[in-house]
Each structure stands twice: as C-alpha cells, then as structure tokens.
C-alpha cells in the first residue's frame, strides 16, 4: 500500500535538508530541486516501494537520485525550454559561474554512467558516505562498492575528456580559417 503522510513527515523532518541539498547538487537549480522534492514525496506517498523497503532512508535517497537524473534526461530532450541558470559556489559572480559550469559538466557526464555506478559515486562523493554505508544501502559488499567507484571515476574521466575534445573541435576558428 502507499506510504502514510505521517511517516513521510518524519522522513522529511529528519532527512529533508539532506535530500534537498542532494537534489540541488544534482540539478544545480534551486527551483528545480524545490519541485523535485515535492514530486519525490508525492511519489513516495503513492508508490508501494517505500513501505516494502528494508532500509527506508536508503530507498528515499536512491529515489531522489533517480528522480534528479530522470529530470536531467527529460531536460536533455527539451534543452531549449530550460531557463534557470545553474547554481555554483564562489565569491564573485564569475567564480560562481565557472564553478557552476564545472559542476554541470561533471553531473551531466554522470548521466552516461550506469544507474548503480552513478549511485555509488553520488553517495560516496556528493553525500560523502563511507564505503561500508553505501554497501549496506545498495546490498553490495564494500569491495564491490570500491570497485564501482573506481570504475565510475575512470568512466567519468573518459566522458569528460571526450566532451572536452568535442568542445575544442566546435570552437569557432580564427579569421581566414
């Protein structure tokens, strides 16, 4: 059956800030994270998965990651409709813009990873969880999680390198080229 709102309010009170922060990191847009947070809890209310989950907190975070990358996938399909600029960190507007662009590249590249590898990287580096914690949440061994993170970093590096190559090729050439 669906999850009761009271249980969801508990989850919201205890983990809401972290989930919202995670959604912000993955979307890099406060407004989108705001919408996704609401959508997440409505989905949790209407789906039967949470009630059946052994580790409800892990389930909620995995659902949030899934939702954020689902949004990214939809956004990639309708790129021109997005207007809100990404959010970065830094002291000056230029610093923030550069940071936001860097983050956008990394999170965008994560879209091309497998679901499991992506979850491992997000939980390890964005949520800064220990390997054994991630292993417990994903039903894997600590060794497997380490291997997945290592493989994920390798894949991310390749994707980013390819993207950089493509970007250089598409740069406008100088006069007379």
């Amino acid at each position: 059956m669906s999850s009761d709102p009271q249980g969801l309010l508990h989850i919201l009170e205890f983990h809401g800030q972290q989930i919202y922060a995670l959604l912000t990191r993955l979307t890099l847009r406060a407004g989108v994270a705001d919408d996704l947070l609401q959508e997440l809890f409505l989905k949790l209310h209407t789906s039967t998965g949470l009630a059946r989950a052994e580790n409800q907190t892990a389930y909620v975070f995995r659902a949030a990651i899934h939702l954020a990358f689902d949004w990214r996938r939809r956004r990639r399909e309708t790129e021109s409709l997005q207007h809100e600029p990404p959010t970065g960190t830094g002291s000056s507007p230029m610093d923030r813009l550069i940071a936001a662009e860097e983050f956008e590249q990394v999170v965008g590249a994560m879209q091309d990873l497998s679901e499991l590898t992506r979850e491992c990287l997000v939980l390890r580096f964005l949520q800064q969880q220990e390997y054994h914690e991630i292993a417990g949440q994903l039903g894997k061994t600590e060794h497997q999680v380490r291997a997945l993170c290592h493989k994920g970093l390798d894949q991310l590096r390749s994707i980013l390198a390819i993207a950089a190559g493509a970007a250089r090729e598409s740069e406008p050439k100088g006069m007379g080229d």
Partner: protein, 540 residues
Amino acid sequence: MEPATDDDELIHRLHRLGELKPAAVETERALERVRRSLTELSPVAAVVVGKPRALGWWIAAAVCLGLAVPLAWLALGPSPAHAGFDDIRAAMQARRSVACRQVRRIEGRPDETSRWLMFGDHRFRIDLGGGSYAVVDGARRRFLRVDAQAQEATLFDDGRPPPDNLYEALKDLPQGVAAQQLPQKRIDGRNVVGFTVSVEGRIATVWADPVARLPVQIQTDEQNAEGQFVSVTIDEFEFEKKLNPDLFSFGPPAGFAFTSIGLDELRGRWERPIPGSNPPLIESLTVEGDHDIYLLRRTDGTLVRKLSARVHLERVGDVAIYNRDEIQLVEGNSPPGGVPKTQSFIYKFDQKGLCEVSGLLHGRDSFRPRIATIRWVGPGKRDDRPSADESIADKPRAPSDDPDLRRDLEQMQGRWERIGRNAQGEVTWRMEKLVKGNQETRTVTDPHGRVLEQQTVRFRLEKHGPVRVFNFFERMNDVGDGAGLNFEVDFSYLYRIDGTTLLEAPGLFEKRPSYQTNPVVYIWARSEPRNAEKTANTPP
C-alpha cells in the same frame, strides 16, 4: 574551460560539488512546501508530527486557504472543487476514442515509448515504433502482435493475458471507488487536479484538467522483482480522435508470415472410444472457430447426443484450461442431470495426443461426473506454434495467507497412502506420505513393510484462480539412492483435496518443472494415524 584530466582533479571537483549547500531560506521554503502537501493529504499528521512551527503554519495555511480557494474557484471556472475522481472516470467513460503516448522507464535501460489508440470497446492498438504494433481485443482476450523487422504476425487467442492497459483499467473502475485527492499542481502551464487510486494492484496517480475533467497525465511507479524503479507515464491525450477502423484489424499485413496460437491449435475433430461402455460408445469433439460440437454415438453410428458450446481458453498458473459455455443440446438425449451451463477441464498436448483432465479445478463444473484423465486422438499439435514468451508462469514470490490454502494445508496434515497391486490384486508396494506443517516425508515399502526409499521435502501451496499448486523444494534422501544427501529441487504438481482424498497431478504445466512430463492423476487416500500419533493427539 578544461574538464578534469586526472583523478585528483575530478575527485576534488566532486568533493566541491558535495560541499555545495542551498541557502537556508531556500531549504526551509522547499521543506515547507512539502510539509504543506503532506499535511493536505493528512491534516491530523501535521499536529502529531510537525515541529511547533507547524501549528503556526497550520493557522497561516487556513487563512491562505480561506482566500485562495475562492480565488482559485473564480480562476478555474465551473466547479473544479467538485471534480472528484468519479467525475474524471465518468468523463473518460463518455469518450469513445482516445489517443495517447505511454513512456515506460526502467532504470538502466532506454525509455520505451509507444503510442496508444483506443477504440472505446476494449479494442486498442499499440504502435511500438519501427512499424511494429499490437492490436488487442481486451473483451475477448485476444491480441495480434506484428513484428515489422522480422515480417511476422502472431495472433494470440489462447487466453493468455493481453498487454496491460492502464487507461482502460482506470476507466473501468467502479463508481465510488476510493481515491485520494492530491494538492493541485501545474503541468505544461495549466492547473491540474490530482488523485491517487488503486487499480489492479498498483497505485496510479491521475492528473486531470479540472474543467474538461479528463486526464492530462497518468502515472504509476513501482519497483520490479529486481528492485529497479519502473515508472509508466501516459500523457499527450487526444480525445474523440477519428480513428480508422482498419487500424484495429486482426488480419496480418500482406506478405507477413502469420501464426495463430490458441483455439487454432485445437481446431479439428478429436475422438476416442469410451472404455468399458456397453453398448460401445465413441465420443468426439470438433473445434471450429470459437465453438465446438460434442457428439456421443454408438459404434454403429447411432447418435446418442449432440451438444454445441462456445469455447473460451484460459491460461492460469501455467496451466491451460478449456472452458465451455452457452452449451446447447442440438440433438438426441439430454445428459444425466440435464444440460450443464458451463464445463471446464485442464488440457495439455502430449506425445499421444490431446490430454483432458477433469475434476481438478476448484469452483468450476467438470466436463465429467468424476475425476478423469482422458486422451483424445485427432489432428495433433501444430509444430509451428511458437513457444509462449511469458516467464515461468505466475509463481508467487511470497508465501500466501489465502484462507483456502490455509484450509488445504490443515486438511493435508497427517498420513496418506497409495497401494500398488498386480493383476491378481496382490499388494506389490505401498507408498505413504506424512505431512507435518510444510514438510512432507514420502516412504516406499515393499509388501513386507521393508523401507525401500524415503525422502523428505519442504513445500508450499499456491492458488491461481481455480488451480491449486503444490510446490516442493529442498529434498533430503533419508533411505535409498543418495541417502543422507540434500538436493536443491523445485518441482510442482496440481493438487485437490477434499478431506479424505488427495489428488496429485504432475505433468500438466506448460513450462513449469514437474516431476513427470506426461499428465497423470494419482489418488491418495487418508490412512489411519499410528498409535503414537493418536496418543500424541489425545488431550490430557
């Protein structure tokens, strides 16, 4: 800007991303919005769970709602507040044709997008892309699948479930079905009202236009058996679209290879002499279209009875069932007890022909007055029939607490016996099964009582409509070949129990492993408990 070129830089960038924190005011605003939505779903919860500020919010929300509701009412037009799920359902039923898009998402796989056309009488068409499509007649449970790439068309008319149609399932929900209203939201720039409703074991979220009262988006989210998130979204609705009836034809496209599965494999005349009948009788069953003709006649050709019926095949619990209804006496004598309204039996093709097993189905009238395993001789099974593409059918993942199964399990407890005799009627072997809880010990002895074999298995019972299944596993050989060894087995058979008789019928599944290939029914009789058991069961 250069991307990360080594792990350190990449990890550094990821860590910095992990340190990114939204502003406190934005966080609080987002959390408050969700709190508000959740408390709208359950106002009591806000008082019980919320932090002290929730009460203040509750008062503020009440004031806001006092202003917002009339304004929203004015903005949205005719009585949106009264657009309950029943109104949505009624509006769906009032529309004949519907076109929409369905997107099925499973994590780690590409999206599956299909276009659906519904004709309004449970006929619908699913365009799968690349020219492939399916046409479904939900009322008759038949569907045509066309594979454009392979240039093949297959008509499934064997009672297997057609593809799910979430829209039709919602439309067919009964009036007054329980639905929970969700907070309003906007989709593609327009206000929508939302409901969650349980449909065919899933929970669907329906977002609808409050004025037209028709769905804008329908969504379900589930986890499949592998723990993956599976979401189905239906949108891009067009109602009352003029649809070409030719799109819903069950005829295969010109030039495509065509296969028909179902009644087609039974088509023709099946016949058998009735053993022991005096005068000798022959019965035949001729299947044509969706009807059959049953003839009972003497060997000299004299007709005893001719019955006609409509045939409906069914596949449940990995078992094929032949159902007859609209049974009519066409000629000859009425059968003893009158013409039945319906009849059902399990059927299966084997090497010898068509095998009919009557008397195993629960809640169905049998084709025979008693338990029977009957072989018909006839046109035989078509060899060009492709195998069913379902997974091994319907094996439930969790134990059932069904009251029928609890009753069956209670009745099964204790000792059961089968005895083998030779032509002279002498006992050649005895087989006994002792059921204790969900464990069965089966012992084979010779006529002198020496134990030849003994095996113990664990089992569970399953119920699939009229079919009951005994599934056993974890076999321990106590005596005989492999004594002392454990075996990982997973075998099943059909059963039926009535307190004093236990029927055990292996070999009737389409795909599921059984311990015998060909259909057979064994009859176990209740045997007396041993003295020690009698004593143990006697209250002090």
